[in-house]
Symmetry: D2
C-alpha cells in the first residue's frame, strides 16, 4: 500500500509538534508509600516533523504506549521518549500524562484515614536533553484576612486551588509539592472529618488567614530554596465564597534565565 505520510512535502515548513492527543490509558505511577499506584491518564504523544515529510505515522505512537504498558516512572520517561524518536525518525519527542493521584491522609484530631485525590500532569520533552515538568493542583482552605480584620466576628473562607509547576534537574515527589501547598494555605482539605476535626480546622483557619497573594508568596519562598529546580510557577485560585468569580495570583521564576 502507498505510504502517503512518507511522501515528499514541498511547502518547506517544519512542524513543531504532531501526534495523538487525549487518548485515555490506564497507567501505574510511582507512589512514595505504596511504591506503585494504578490510575487512569489522558495521554498525548508528539514528535517534530521535518519539513520534507508530508505526515507522521501516528499509529506508531500508540504502539510505543502499548509497549510500555502504562508504566510511568521518572526512570522510564526517557526510555519512552527515546523510543518515540526512534520509531518516528524524529529529532524531538514530547509526552503528557494527566491523571488523578491519590494520597491517604489522616484527619488532624481523630487521625481517621481517608483518600484525597490531586490532579497531576507529567510533561516531558527529549530534544538534545531530557526535561521533565510536573504540575500538581492541590485543593486547599483559605480564610480572608481582610474579612477577619474588618468584621466583629467570623470571616469568609472558601475552597481554593494551588497549582504548582516545576521543572527539575533531579526527582521531586508529588507528595512534597502537596505538602508545600497545604502548609502555605489557611488549612489543608480532607475527605473524612469528624466533629472534633471540623472544630480544629475551623479554628485553625481563623488563626491563619491567607490571601491568594499570601499563598503564592509562601509557596514561592519554599520553592526558591530547592536548588534543583530549573523553573517553577505557582498559581492560587480562590473560588470566592462571596463572589461568583475567582481571586487569582501567580508567581513564576525561570532559573534558566535567573541563575543559569
Amino acid at each position: 500500500m502507498v505510504d502517503i505520510q512518507n511522501s515528499r512535502d514541498k511547502r518547506n515548513i517544519p512542524i513543531n509538534c504532531v501526534g495523538i492527543k487525549n487518548i485515555r490509558y490506564p497507567i501505574v505511577v510511582q507512589d512514595r508509600k505504596n511504591q506503585r499506584q494504578p490510575t487512569v491518564a489522558d495521554v498525548s504523544l508528539y514528535v517534530n516533523l521535518p519539513h520534507h515529510y508530508r505526515g507522521t505515522h501516528m499509529s506508531r505512537l500508540v504502539e510505543v504506549l502499548n509497549e510500555f504498558k502504562g508504566e510511568v516512572s521518572y526512570k522510564n520517561l526517557d526510555r519512552i521518549l527515546l523510543r518515540m524518536k526512534e520509531r518516528l525518525n524524529a529529532e524531538k519527542s514530547h509526552l503528557e500524562f494527566s491523571f488523578p493521584y491519590f494520597l491517604t491522609k489522616k484527619a488532624p484530631v481523630t487521625l481517621w484515614e481517608s483518600l484525597m485525590s490531586y490532579d497531576c500532569i507529567i510533561a516531558a520533552t527529549y530534544d538534545k536533553h531530557l526535561s521533565i515538568t510536573t504540575t500538581v493542583r492541590i485543593p486547599v482552605h483559605t480564610l480572608c484576612p481582610c474579612s477577619k480584620e474588618i468584621s466583629d466576628f467570623s470571616a469568609h473562607n472558601q475552597r481554593g486551588y494551588v497549582t504548582i509547576t516545576v521543572e527539575m534537574i533531579k526527582f521531586v515527589w508529588i507528595e512534597d509539592l502537596i505538602t508545600i501547598a497545604e502548609e502555605s494555605a489557611s488549612c489543608p482539605l480532607y475527605s473524612l472529618l469528624k466533629r472534633e476535626d471540623e472544630k480544629y480546622i475551623t479554628e485553625q483557619a481563623y488563626k491563619n488567614p491567607k490571601f491568594v497573594e499570601d499563598v503564592v508568596r509562601e509557596v514561592a519562598a519554599r520553592l526558591e530554596k530547592l536548588s534543583y529546580l530549573r523553573f517553577f510557577s505557582v498559581e492560587a485560585e480562590n473560588m470566592e465564597s462571596i463572589h461568583n468569580h475567582s481571586a487569582y495570583a501567580m508567581i513564576r521564576r525561570d532559573f534558566k534565565v535567573d541563575r543559569p
Copy 2:
C-alpha cells in the same frame, strides 16, 4: 434528488426525540427591568418521528430557529414549537435554550451596582398541550451551622449552588426564583463589594448559618405556596471549603400526582 429521510422504515419503531443538539445561537430574552436582554444560548430542537419514516429533516429545524431570529419569550415559545410540528410533520416538538442571564444587583451597604450572571434553561414541549419548564442555577453563600456551634469562634463557609426547576401553569420571572434561592441561603453573592459590604456579609452569614438541607427546605417551603406550579425540584450543592467534594440535597414535588 432522492429524499432518503422520507423513505419508508420497516423496523416499526417510533423515535421519541430526533433533531439538532447544542447549536449556539444569539438570543434575546425577557428582562423584568430592561424588557429585552441579548445573550447567547446553546439550543436543542427535537421532534418525534413516527415508526414509518426513516429520518427527520434536521435542516428545517435550523430554518425554524432562523425564522424567529432568536426571540425567546414566553409569548412565542408556543409559536416556535407549533412551527416545528408543522415543518417536520410531527405530533410532538421539544426545545431547550441554555443561557446566562444577567441581573444588576446592589451591594448591601454601599449600594454600588454590579452585574451577576445566572445559568438558565428554558425547556418546552408541545404534545397535545404546551408545557414549559424553567431551570435557574443561583450561586449563594452558605455557612455551616455545625461548624459554628462546635467551634469557639468562626465557622467554615463556601460558595454553593441552588438549582431550581419549575413547571408552570402561568408565567414566573427568573428574577423571582433568584430571590427565593438567595433568601434561603446564608447570604447572596455579588460581583462588586467594598469593605463595608464585605463586613456586612461576613457577619450576616454568621448570624444565618445554613446546611444544604436547610436551603432546600426553605426554598421548597416557598415554592409550595406558589399555587400555579405543576412540578418543582430544588437542589443545593455546597463546594465544601473543608472537603474536595460537594455536600448535596434535593427535594422534588410533582403536583400532577400530588394535587391533580
Copy 3:
C-alpha cells in the same frame, strides 16, 4: 459536642436525597476477561432524610465507602446500599459511580490489539427493593446515508456517541452493551489501526451507512429482545462533520409500564 444535625426540624419537609457528590475514588470493577479491573470513579452517595431531622451525617457516607475499599461489583452493591441505610438510619439509599472502563480490542484486519475506554455509570437505589441502572457511552463511526445517496462519490462521516441506559432484573455485562452499540453503527472505533485496517473500516462504513435514527432503532430492536430489562433508553449523537452542532436521536422504553 452538640449534634446539630440530629436536632429536631419543625418545617415538616422530608428531603428526597442528601449526601456527598463527586468524591473521586479508586475502584475495582468486574471485568469479563480479566475478572477485576482497577479504575477511578466519581462517586455520589445519598440517603433520604425524614422530615423531623435537621441534617444527615455526611462523614458516615465516606466511612461506608472506605469500608468497602472501592470494590464495586453487582454482588456487593446491595451490601453497600444496605450499610448506608443502616449507618444513616435511612429508609432509602442511592449511589452513583462514574468511571472509564477499558477493553482490549483487535483491529479488524491485522488483529493488532489496543485498549479502548468507555464512560460508564452504575447507579443503584435501595428503597424497598434494589434496582440497578447501568449507562455506557460508546464512541462509534457513522456514515451519512443521505450524503452517500446524493453524492457522485464519498459520503460525510464522523465520530458519534451511543449512550445506552438499562435497568435490569438480572446482570448484564458492559461488554455486551458495547457490542450492541458497535454493531448498530457504521463501524466500531479502535485506538490502533494499521493501513490495512483503515482501508477495511473506510470501505466497511461506506457499505453500511447509518443515520442517528437508524442507530437508535437498531439498538432498540436488540434491547427489546432482552426479556430481563425493566427499562432502557438509547441515545445517538453525531458530532456532525459538516456542522458544528450534533445530530441527535433517542428512544426510551419503560417495561414497568409497558409489560408490568
Copy 4:
C-alpha cells in the same frame, strides 16, 4: 476601616499577576459587517503587585470593567489597561476576554444564510508597550488523504478544530483568520445546508483531502506572509472518526526572535 491589602509585606517577593478570574460579563465586540456585535464573555483582569504590598484591591478591577460597560474594541483596550494600571497603582496590567463570535455564512450552493459561532480570546498586556494577542478556534471538515488513497472508495472524514493565535502590530479581523483556516481545510462547516449543499461539500472534501499536518502548514504559509505579525501559532486537532482520540499538529513562529 483597616486596609489590610495596603499593609507592608516583608517577604520581598513580587507577584507577576493578581486579580479576578472568570467573571462573566455581557460585552460588545467589533463586527466587520454589522459594526457592533453583542455577546457574552468570560473576563479575567490582572495586574502585577510589587514586593512591598501585601495585597491588591480586586474590587477596583470590577469597577474598571463597569466603567467601560463591556465595550471591547481594539480602540479601547489600551484605555482599559491604562485605567487598570492607574486604579491599582500597577506597572503592568493584563486582560483576557473569551467569547463566542457569530458570523453569517452562506451555504455553498443554495446560498441560504445561517449563523456560525467561533470561540475567540482577546488577551492584551500593557507593560511598557501594549501587546494584543487574538485567538480564534475554527471548526472545519477534514478528509484523510491516506484513507482516500488506500481505499477502493470513500475516505474517513471528521470535524476538526483549527486554533490560530496571533500577536499583531496592526489590527487583524477575526473574519480574516476564519477565512484562512477554512480555506486550509478540506471544507468549511455551516449551520444550515440543504441537499444540494451537502452533495457539494461531500464531493468537494473528497477532492481536497487534508491531514492535520497539511492544515497547519497551509495556515502557517499564509500567516507567514502577513508582515505585521509578531508571533503566531496554529494548531489543528481532528476529532478522528475512526479513533476515540485526536490527531494533532502545531506550528509556532516567534518573529520577535526570528525577524526582530
